[in-house]
């Protein structure tokens, strides 16, 4: 019934070689490019970008880690080298508007790169999708999630760090479904436990892992979909569901994936 169209993801160097500067840079981020689970989110988001016929490009092999983890783990030297290198490349391409699926990179590019000569208008994908919905460009979401109960977990670097609590929720509101909240939500949201480099090291001694505490809180709402908007949160919540043996009946999706599925892309 539908015809599948192959997507050729536009790469900045090629677009630039043809004498054009795309309106948007889609910053994929290290997790979006390499983490097997989050690559699916990247692909879902690109499907939406294609559906929108957005004038965008990715940096591809020229993109390098934003340095968020390095900085928060104390390696300021490494962070600054990453920041300066990335800014130099983006400035060379005349990048003005950036959209990214990663709240950590969103925060770093938006708030921290200006110190290194990188001044961009940076959007998190939740804000971008919210805007496209507002403009009526993403109508016709099917009722495939009508019977699902969705709980949203706030990423610290979108929420507390940048006070964006509404955009991901209004994206979810656009998808016919039952939406519930955890007791600790918005600015009171509990971290998934991955930030500040935690995802890459053994946890310190305690009586529980943070991701289990948060997963239990999400499960207690009775939701059958945990919606996230951050690659680190996704790893943590997915691990939590495995730990609680609930991966069969409860799923973890990024808001972009839910929207992409809802749009039938």
């Amino acid at each position: 019934m539908e015809n599948k169209i192959k997507i050729e993801v536009p790469v900045m160097a090629d677009v630039f070689a043809n004498g054009r500067t795309p309106e948007w840079l889609f910053w994929v981020g290290s997790a979006g490019a390499f983490d097997d689970r989050y690559k699916k989110v990247t692909r879902a988001f690109v499907k939406i970008l294609t559906y929108l016929k957005l004038d965008y490009a990715v940096l591809g092999v020229e993109e390098s880690d934003s340095g968020d983890v390095a900085r928060r783990a104390g390696n300021e030297m490494l962070f600054q080298m990453q920041a300066m290198t990335n800014c130099e490349i983006m400035n060379a391409y005349g990048v003005k508007k950036i959209v990214t699926c990663c709240p950590h990179d969103f925060n770093t590019l938006k708030n921290e790169y200006p110190d290194f000569g990188g001044h961009y208008e940076v959007w998190h994908h939740s804000q971008f999708l919210d805007k496209m919905i507002d403009e009526g460009k993403l109508n016709h979401v099917t009722g495939m999630f009508e019977k699902n109960t969705i709980v949203f977990h706030d990423p610290c670097y979108l929420g507390r760090a940048n006070k964006e609590y509404d955009a991901p929720r209004s994206v979810l509101d656009h998808i016919p479904s039952v939406n519930v909240e955890m007791p600790r939500n918005r600015s009171f949201g509990l971290c998934c436990g991955a930030g500040g480099g935690q995802m890459f090291k053994e946890a310190e001694k305690g009586n529980k892992e943070v991701f289990i505490e948060r997963t239990e809180e999400a499960l207690a709402t009775g939701a059958d979909i945990i919606a996230t908007a951050c690659p680190f949160c996704m790893v943590m919540m997915t691990d939590g569901l495995k730990y609680k043996n609930r991966e069969e009946d409860v799923k973890n999706y990024d808001i972009a994936e839910l929207l992409c599925m809802g749009l039938g892309l």
């Binding site: 490019a33 294609t50 340095g67 305690g206």
Partner: protein, 436 residues
């Protein structure tokens, strides 16, 4: 005349002790790192919003309201305290009475607030003494911390009792002597009903006792505060003014590193090299490595524990407690400060903040989620100090957990935290289709 002399002597002693204490703090501040303040209009707004309007404390609505009432009450009552000092020096009585209706409003408000504050303090004391409120406990909450809290609350309770006593017996004194009453006293007028049978002489004496009791308690309180966690009373409003106004997610750039990295990436770059042979120390390992704003943060902390109560690491049983970090900075400066005053900033007592007070295990448990900073009613930035100590460990000691060292190596070599080739960065885009 004798009373006037006693009052002026008490005031001078109070001011002398206060000046001595403040000088010590001033010198401690001089050992900390400098930091430039800008964006003053935003800071004024932040001070009104967070300090004066008490917006962040309302994140816990019930206790928040009681605290806000105590704060606003203090501000109003302060006007009366200033009047008392003038009255004491010049032998006047209720000298601000010349303000007429304005005075009536201020005094009536203060009279009502005195009762509200007294009741709030009783609630606070009850919570501390008889209810097990989790955030009042923790490894850093030693018996001395609890005693400190109860002492400060008792002080305030006594201040309010003497204030109401003073107003009550002033009301009766004027009433019985047939003098005209200056000010309006809604609460004290009611309380006066219980003491109506006392003689004119008795009410006069009781007024004197409460007047002196109140002002001497204020003098004592002012000099106890700087040695208590309740220094908060003086420090928190200015602390909000100097606090971080950037988004919580933004981390302060290390300018010393920026110079090095700029030269490394672009050797021909002209970086102002003011002092080549002085190698700066990266990060924080002792109290005098923190910035003056960090230290101000520490002095403003009243150990309420709202930060620790929301810390994901602490909730799940790890050692880290953001409140402890702030208390440690304060305690370490108190320990090392006198030595530095005597022998200069090079003074060493073979101890340090990192190691003797704060362990690496605490530092590495932080997720940088900023829940503590979000919660702090006076805008303390706990993650900044945690990060600066991580910076010391990584940049000076090359001592990070193994997993993070691997991340550093991978980012350096592959531009990603994992060991993937940068050439594979676009592999996710292969075989991608959309339904048309």
């Amino acid at each position: 005349m004798a009373k006037q002399l006693i009052f002026i002597s008490a005031l001078l002693i109070t001011l002398a002790i206060f000046a001595y204490t403040m000088r010590k703090y001033f010198l401690y501040f001089r050992f900390t790192k400098s930091l430039k303040l800008d964006r003053f209009s935003e800071r004024v707004y932040e001070t009104f919003n967070v300090a004066i309007a008490q917006t962040k404390i309302f994140r816990q609505p019930v206790m928040g309201l009681l605290h806000a009432l105590v704060f606003w009450g203090f501000v109003v009552i302060l006007i009366g305290s200033i009047e008392m000092v003038i009255d004491g020096i010049f032998r006047t009585e209720r000298v601000f009475g010349i303000a007429g209706i304005v005075y009536d409003v201020v005094i009536a408000t203060g009279d009502v607030f005195a009762l509200i504050i007294a009741i709030s303090i009783l609630v606070f004391l009850f919570r501390r003494l008889f209810m097990h409120v989790k955030r009042f406990y923790g490894t850093e909450m030693k018996p001395v911390s609890k005693a400190d809290a109860n002492m400060a609350l008792s002080f305030i309770l006594l201040l309010m009792i003497t204030l109401l006593g003073m107003n009550t017996f002033y009301f009766l004194d004027m009433h019985k002597a047939g003098h005209e009453l200056v000010g309006i006293y809604p609460v004290s007028k009611f309380l006066a009903g219980f003491f109506d049978q006392l003689s004119q002489y008795q009410v006069h004496i009781f007024h004197e006792i409460n007047w002196w009791g109140h002002i001497l308690l204020i003098f004592a309180f002012a000099n106890v505060l700087p040695y208590s966690k309740h220094f908060h009373v003086f420090m928190s409003v200015p602390n909000v003014f100097v606090s971080r106004i950037d988004p919580l997610g933004k981390i302060e750039t290390m300018e010393s590193i920026k110079k090095e990295v700029t030269l490394m990436l672009n050797p021909s770059a002209s970086v102002s090299s003011d002092n080549q042979d002085e190698i700066p120390k990266f990060g924080v390992s002792d109290a005098n490595d923190v910035s003056w704003v960090n230290y101000m943060n520490a002095l403003s902390c009243t150990e309420c524990g709202r930060c620790t109560a929301v810390c994901p690491a602490n909730i799940t049983g790890k050692l880290l407690s953001p409140r402890k970090i702030m208390m440690d900075v304060r305690a370490r400066m108190k320990e090392k400060g006198p030595g530095m005053i005597k022998e200069g900033i090079g003074f060493s007592d073979e101890k340090s903040l990192l190691g003797n007070y704060i362990s690496e295990e605490e530092l590495w448990a932080c997720t940088m989620c900023n829940a503590c900073a979000q919660e702090c009613p006076v805008n303390i930035n706990q993650p900044a100090i945690i990060l600066d100590m991580r910076r010391y460990l990584v940049l000076e000691k090359s001592s990070a957990p193994a997993g993070l060292n691997t991340v550093f190596t991978n980012i350096e070599n592959n531009g990603a935290p994992w060991q993937f080739s940068p050439q594979d960065r676009l592999n996710w885009a292969e075989e991608l289709y959309v339904n048309g």
